[in-house]
């Protein structure tokens, strides 16, 4: 082995704490080996996590990993953490949470052993899951029973539903069934002090799973999107909806790829959408027309999904990185477009009826359907979406070097224009990190029409080179700049935690200038020893005081721009 640079040394838990944890899970399910904790440290899709690795920051290394098998074991672990003042981070895939660290040795609670579907109630259409159950698992079991969960995440189907709860949870098909967070009827959580909280109607044991609110205040609302700050989900009950397609996905005509031929385009060529489903693509001459069409489609009451894709189709539907870049340069996919998912759920003629309405809207607004006679090669290339629209990240590729910052503002449809304009301004000012950054500026941002179009989510991203710290830092800067832009333009809150510095989450007037102070008070109630998810969402005053002065100054400057008081 070549001569080494500076090592990164992990901290360790006290032997008392370690042994107490070992007594809970047994010696086979607790690890503090150096290489094990390494695999729980460099996370993804957040530039800061990469930068800290480049800088050899020891604080990104957890001290220990523990794997509980039940709610009771999780509760025991959390109580030990309180007893010995050990900060803990609940962990599933580790794709979003960055920097699982604290100044003190930190414990990762990994839920990979809790991966069972506890029950599927076909009569009342609900499913109760352990925290490591993902969308593909739930969908496959539900589809056999003529049910499905109502949506597919804006991430891979390997997302665990418990984790999605911690982030509110957005779906590609939110148009009909609403956000994931509106499809939960109950959660069982281990609170940061070790108490167990059951929310929703299940908190009355004989009431069953029928609504999310339960008696009294909406405790689920308080926990939702808490990014793990207020507790750990150990059971989650979700609504199911009628499924009218096949029990499983049919084989693609080209057969299965092998490692020797995995990049052949024929393997990205699934058949038409599932039985009783139809996917239609439209293109428009400009963003205004696209938005007008999307508004009318969303408000018409048809379809279960309505989205626009820009640069993303170049990633999803290209076989190599080179092909992705070339398709971006050539604008192979329509700059202004949307797709609609129709489902034949109540009548054999439903798709026919809804397609008729859709065609009337497009004829009136102006737009062209991709078809066998209009850009058939583009329609052919978009085929991976045939499955992706129902089970995301199954048909597509993600040919990009590194995804390390996203702007994800929410708001009414017209905010797409502001997002696009501001993103272009940012790219022109700071420079792009990759040609693919232009997606959302030179073409449509990704637009997800949610809840019948009452609001939308927009997405534009940076793709820095993961081996170049200066590019990663630039991506981070885009994220921080984005938060300021949202606030300045009233673009609405980010719905995901890419900028997971708590004061930024309170930048938005609709949240209230001092919401962070309110949340700090709540945290004191839930987490009296301040051990849950350090560095997440809601800081204690002590944690805030430990922030570098320049960060505090930058935050307060942005708040000042919005006539908000300084963070105390």
């Amino acid at each position: 082995m070549t001569a080494k640079k500076n090592k990164v040394i992990q901290k360790k838990l006290s032997r008392e704490a370690f042994n107490a944890l070992k007594n809970v899970v047994g010696e086979n399910w607790i690890y503090e080996e150096r290489s094990v904790v390494e695999t729980y440290s460099k996370l993804s899709i957040e530039g800061g996590s990469f930068v800290k690795k480049h800088e050899k920051d020891p604080h990104v290394l957890p001290a220990c990993v523990v794997l509980p098998a039940s709610t009771n074991e999780t509760q025991a672990i959390v109580k030990i953490c309180n007893r010995y003042q050990v900060p803990f981070i609940p962990f599933t895939n580790g794709q979003v949470f960055c920097n699982p660290t604290n100044q003190q040795p930190t414990l990762i609670i990994h839920f990979s052993r809790m991966n069972n579907i506890i029950r599927i109630d076909t009569q009342n259409m609900s499913a109760t899951l352990e925290p490591y159950v993902d969308y593909a698992q739930l969908q496959s079991e539900a589809m056999k029973r003529g049910l499905w969960n109502g949506g597919t995440p804006l991430a891979t189907t390997l997302c665990k539903l418990s984790s999605q709860f911690a982030f509110a949870g957005l779906w590609q098909t939110d148009l009909k069934y609403g956000l994931f967070s509106r499809n939960i009827t109950s959660v069982k959580m281990v609170l940061p002090d070790g108490e167990i909280l059951t929310t929703g109607s299940r908190c009355m044991p004989k009431a069953g799973d029928f609504w999310e609110y339960g008696p009294g205040p909406d405790l689920m609302g308080l926990q939702r999107a808490g990014v793990g700050t207020n507790g750990i989900v150990t059971e989650i009950t979700v609504k199911l909806h009628a499924w009218v397609g096949e029990e499983s996905f049919p084989e693609i005509p080209a057969g299965r790829p092998s490692l020797a031929h995995v990049h052949d385009a024929k393997y990205d060529n699934p058949p038409a959408p599932l039985k009783n489903h139809k996917l239609l693509w439209m293109e428009f001459e400009d963003l205004d027309t696209q938005l007008k069409a999307m508004r009318q489609i969303a408000h018409s009451g048809i379809a279960i999904g309505l989205n626009a894709t820009g640069v993303y189709s170049a990633f999803y539907c290209s076989q190599t990185q080179e092909m992705t870049v070339n398709r971006c340069k050539e604008h192979f996919f329509p700059d202004w477009n949307c797709y609609v998912i129709l489902v034949n759920s109540t009548s054999d003629k439903q798709i026919e009826y809804e397609e008729g309405i859709l065609r009337e809207i497009i004829a009136e607004v102006g737009g062209t359907f991709l078809s066998e006679t209009h850009k058939p090669e583009v329609l052919e290339a978009l085929k991976p979406w045939n499955y992706d629209c129902i089970r995301h990240s199954t048909g597509y590729r993600m040919n990009r070097k590194c995804y390390a910052n996203a702007w994800l503002p929410a708001g009414p449809l017209e905010n797409a224009k502001t997002t696009s304009r501001e993103w272009k301004k940012a790219l022109d000012t700071f420079g792009e990190l990759d040609i693919t950054d232009r997606g959302g500026a030179d073409d449509t941002p990704f637009i997800y029409a949610l809840q019948r179009g009452h609001f939308c989510l927009f997405e534009t991203d940076n793709y820095p080179d993961p081996v170049l710290p200066e590019e990663l830092k630039k991506a981070q800067a885009y994220g921080i700049y984005g938060a300021a832009v949202f606030a300045k333009n009233n673009l609405g809150p980010q719905l995901m935690a890419f900028v997971n510095v708590e004061p930024f989450t309170t930048m938005f007037p609709e949240t209230g200038p001092n919401a962070n102070l309110f949340m700090r008070k709540i945290r004191k109630v839930f987490d009296p020893n301040s051990v849950a998810s350090p560095g997440r969402q809601v800081f204690t005053e002590e944690e805030w005081q430990q922030f570098p002065g320049e960060v505090k100054a930058a935050v307060n400057k942005m708040r000042q721009m919005n006539d908000m008081p300084e963070v105390q």
Binding site: M1, K4, K5, K7, V8, Y31, E33, R34, S35, V36, E38, T39, Y40, S41, K42, L43, S44, I45, F50, K53, L67, N93, G94, Q95, H110, S112, R113, D134, A136, Q137, S140, E141, T156, T157, L158, S248, F249, G255, R256, P257, S258, L259, A260, V262, H263, P270, T320, Q321, S393, T394, G395, R397, M398, N399, K401, C402, Y403, D465, P466, V467
Partner: protein
């Protein structure tokens, strides 16, 4: 080396971890390296695909974990003294390639290649392989086979069979027997069946007999590149010198080595004969009408895709075509098949070093096979047959493990 920097064209067996730097840093933790490809998931029970992660549940056992370990080693964040446990993580991998299959489809990165390169680095640095592998390497060096068997015993299976000795006379088709079938007398019947089927079909068949040497796959998989390259160089010269137009082999390890790995060694001559797996060859003979089956047996079977034959090399349909061509044989499929097949647990040196893990993995495959209602698991790999066979014996199951030729030999019309 940055992401879009033009990289030097290198063959796999000259690559170092540094050559994968961008890929290693770019791991997105999407977790597809542990799970079945989304549109192929048919149940929660069989939704995972990495045998090691499935068993041990922590990330260092997964493809993603290997990328993180590789990154830390590459950047000097820790070394072997700080993390001696990495040897276990890196070798508890069957090299089934499921992680690489799904990562290539999603993120265009190479977790299996990275793990095999890590193994090569560990061997070079004297940290790997596992102690259990050292005897295997020594045997390959001393006896040209991994089973510590004398060269003179290599052709004992072939007594009474009229196969040409290509050391003495030319043959159009060379049967590359492979070490395991040649030396393990419980598997001799596979070699014998293979030879009989091809001879009966009129194939001009020859073999190297005692002169055959290991293809090098076992040492390549555990990271001893030096020994592998030496064997490959000898094999290329030996096989080219026979003048055979085609080589047929039953072992997926041999097939992958001869067909793909040798091409990834810098500076060696081309292996001239065309390489076939026996299932490809049978499929061709059936289509040419040279193998005909009679009615007779009735059996419901399921096909287990050997990883190095299926996922690595794309031989999915040929063995299935052969099974479907046999009257009375009903082929039923397991949930995890072809590119998403669950590994038997026996590959990549895992069975040699971690027998319990290998057997548990095979037990899971048997459970999946039983759910199809099949009476037998049919496959075409000496390691799968050994590993699943041993697990089946320990379970005291009535289900059989059969080689593809076992089904064929009794059904062929003579």
């Amino acid at each position: 080396m940055t992401y879009y920097e033009k990289k030097p064209v290198k063959k796999f067996y000259e690559k170092e971890l540094e050559d994968y730097r961008d890929s290693i840093w770019g791991c997105a933790r999407c977790n597809w390296c542990q799970n079945q490809w989304g549109w192929n998931v048919k149940s929660a029970e069989y939704s995972e695909i990495c045998p090691a992660f499935h068993e041990f549940r922590i990330f260092p056992y997964s493809g993603m974990g290997k990328m993180h370990i590789a990154r830390a080693l590459l950047e000097g964040d820790f070394d072997y003294e700080d993390a001696p446990e990495i040897v276990k993580f890196i070798y508890t991998c069957t090299t089934c390639g499921a992680c690489e299959m799904n990562c290539q489809r999603m993120q265009d990165k190479e977790p299996l290649q990275v793990n095999e390169t890590l193994r090569a680095q560990l061997v070079r640095d004297g940290v790997g392989p596992m102690p259990e592998h050292k005897g295997l390497i020594k045997s390959v060096k001393n006896y040209d086979n991994p089973w510590m068997q004398p060269r003179t015993q290599r052709d004992r299976w072939a007594k009474k069979l009229e196969i040409k000795d290509v050391n003495k006379e030319k043959a159009e088709t060379l049967f590359f027997v492979g070490c395991t079938v040649a030396f393990d007398n419980t598997q001799w019947h596979v070699a014998q069946n293979t030879a009989r089927i091809m001879l009966d079909a009129g194939t001009d068949l020859g073999m190297l007999g005692k002169k055959e040497i290991c293809c090098g796959s076992p040492v390549a998989r555990i990271g001893d590149r030096e020994t592998f390259i030496a064997l490959a160089t000898r094999n290329i010269e030996l096989l080219n010198s026979t003048g055979a137009k085609e080589i047929v082999t039953f072992c997926p390890g041999c097939y992958r080595s001869l067909n793909y790995d040798y091409k990834e060694i810098p500076g060696v001559p081309e292996l001239k004969p065309k390489i076939y797996h026996t299932s490809e060859y049978y499929d061709r003979l059936i289509k040419e009408g040279k193998i005909k089956f009679k009615n007779g047996q009735k059996k419901c079977v399921t096909w287990h895709d050997p990883c190095h034959l299926g996922r690595h090399c794309g031989i999915y349909e040929e063995p299935r075509n052969v099974i479907k061509a046999i009257p009375g044989i009903d082929l039923v499929e397991m949930e995890r098949i072809k590119d998403q097949a669950w590994c038997c647990g026996g590959g990549g040196g895992a069975r040699t070093a971690f027998m319990d893990f290998a057997q548990k993995t095979a037990v899971k495959r048997i459970g999946e096979a039983k759910k199809t209602g099949a009476e037998a698991i049919v496959t075409s790999c000496p390691f799968c047959e050994q590993n699943i066979g041993d697990a089946m014996s320990s379970l005291d199951e009535e289900m059989e493990v059969l080689d593809l030729t076992d089904l064929m030999i009794n059904a062929i019309e003579k």
